[in-house]
Assembly symmetry: C2
Homo-oligomer: 213 residues x 2
C-alpha cells in the first residue's frame, strides 16, 4: 500500500531535480535576492543557502558571480517581456486599459513584497557604477524592449483615438519608463503605491485627447 501510494504521488525530490531544476532554483532565488538588495551587496553564499545548492555545484551552472548576474538580467528580462506581452498585446480591451492593467499588476506585486522588492533592472541601473561593465548593454537592451512594447501599445491607442494625435508614441513610451522607474524607487521609500498612482494617473490623463480641450 505504501509503495503504491509512492508510485502514484510525485517522484521524490532527488528524481525531479535534474540540471534544469537546480539551475532554475538558483535563478529564482538569485532574482529574489537581487530584486531586494541589488547585485553588489548580494553574496553568493546567501543565495546558495536559500536555493539549497552547495557552492561546488554552483560552478557547474555558472562560471562566476558576474556570469550568474548576466543570466539573472536575461531571465528577468524574459519574465518581464512575457508579462508585458500578456498585458499590452491582449486584444480583449482598449490599449490604454491594457497599460492600466499592467500598472495595477505591478502595484499588487510591490504590495505583496511589502515594497521591499522593486524592479531588478532599475536597481541595477542605479547601481551601474559598481557593476561589471558587461551588465550595461544587457540592461539597456531590456529597457529598449520594454519601451518598444509600450510604444506599440500607445500607437494602437493613438490609431483608435484613445491617445492625442499630436503625441509621439515612442517618446511617450520612453517618458513612461523614465518616470515609472522613478516612481518605483519612491514607492519603496514610502512603502506605498501612492507614487506609482500619482505618476500613472498623470501619465494616462495627459495622453487623452480631451486633456488638450
Amino acid at each position: 500500500m505504501e509503495s503504491l501510494k509512492r508510485k502514484r504521488g510525485r517522484p521524490p525530490r532527488a528524481d525531479r531535480s535534474g540540471y534544469e531544476d537546480t539551475r532554475q532554483r538558483l535563478i529564482r532565488e538569485g532574482l529574489a535576492v537581487l530584486t531586494e538588495r541589488g547585485y553588489s551587496y548580494s553574496g553568493l553564499d546567501g543565495i546558495l543557502r536559500r536555493a539549497q545548492v552547495p557552492k561546488g555545484s554552483f560552478y557547474y551552472y555558472f562560471s562566476n558571480k558576474e556570469d550568474f548576474g548576466r543570466e539573472l538580467i536575461q531571465a528577468y528580462g524574459r519574465y518581464f517581456e512575457a508579462k508585458l506581452e500578456g498585458y499590452l498585446d491582449a486584444g480583449d480591451r482598449p490599449p490604454l486599459a491594457r497599460l492600466e492593467a499592467f500598472i495595477e499588476d505591478a502595484k499588487a506585486g510591490m504590495r505583496r513584497f511589502e515594497f521591499r522588492r522593486g524592479c531588478l533592472i532599475g536597481n541595477l541601473g542605479q547601481e551601474m557604477a559598481a557593476l561589471p561593465e558587461s551588465f550595461r548593454a544587457l540592461l539597456q537592451q531590456v529597457f529598449r524592449d520594454w519601451e518598444a512594447r509600450t510604444a506599440r501599445c500607445l500607437a494602437e491607442a493613438q490609431a483608435s483615438g484613445e491617445m492625442a494625435a499630436g503625441l509621439d508614441p515612442e517618446a511617450m513610451a520612453r517618458l513612461f519608463w523614465i518616470g515609472w522607474e522613478g516612481a518605483v524607487l519612491r514607492a519603496k521609500l514610502d512603502q506605498s503605491t501612492e507614487p506609482l498612482d500619482a505618476f500613472a494617473r498623470d501619465f494616462l490623463l495627459r495622453l487623452r485627447p480631451q486633456s488638450l480641450a
Copy 2:
C-alpha cells in the same frame, strides 16, 4: 632660509586638521563613495583610506556606520538645499529659467563624474530594503524639502503667467522629483544626459500655458 619658508607657507597638515577638519574630510569622502556605490556595498575601510583617517579616530566622530550614514544623508540634504536655494530662489530670472538652470547644473555634475555618481538620496531610496530603518524618515524628509522648494518656484511661475493656471504646483513638483530620479538612474545607465534632457524638456513644455492652446 628653510625655516623661513616653512613659516610663510601653509602650516603642516597636523596643525590644520582639527576636529571639524577631520570630520568634514570623513563626510566629504563618505559622500563621494556612497553617491557612487550606495551604502550597503561601501565599506568603512575604503572611506577611511580615502580620508586618511585611522579607524580608531572614526569612532571619535561617529558611533558606527549607521550613525555615519545618517550624518551623510543630512550633509547631502544641506548641500543640496543650499544648491536648490541658490537656483530656485534667485530673483534675477524668471521662475522656470531658474529650474532650467538647476537642471543644467545637475547635468554638468553628472557629466563631470562621467555618470558614475547620481543622487545620494535616489541611490539610498532604491536601496532602502537593505538599509537601516532609521534612514527612511531622513530620506523622505529630504524629498519633502526638495518638493516644497520646487513647488514654491512653480507657484511663482504660475503667478507670473509662465505656468498654466490649471496645474497644481505641489502635484507638479512631486511629479518633477519622481521623474527626475528616474531620469538620473537612466542617465547613469546610458552614460548620457539624454534621459535628463528628454524628461526636463517634456516637463517644462507641459507647464507652459501655450502647450494647452
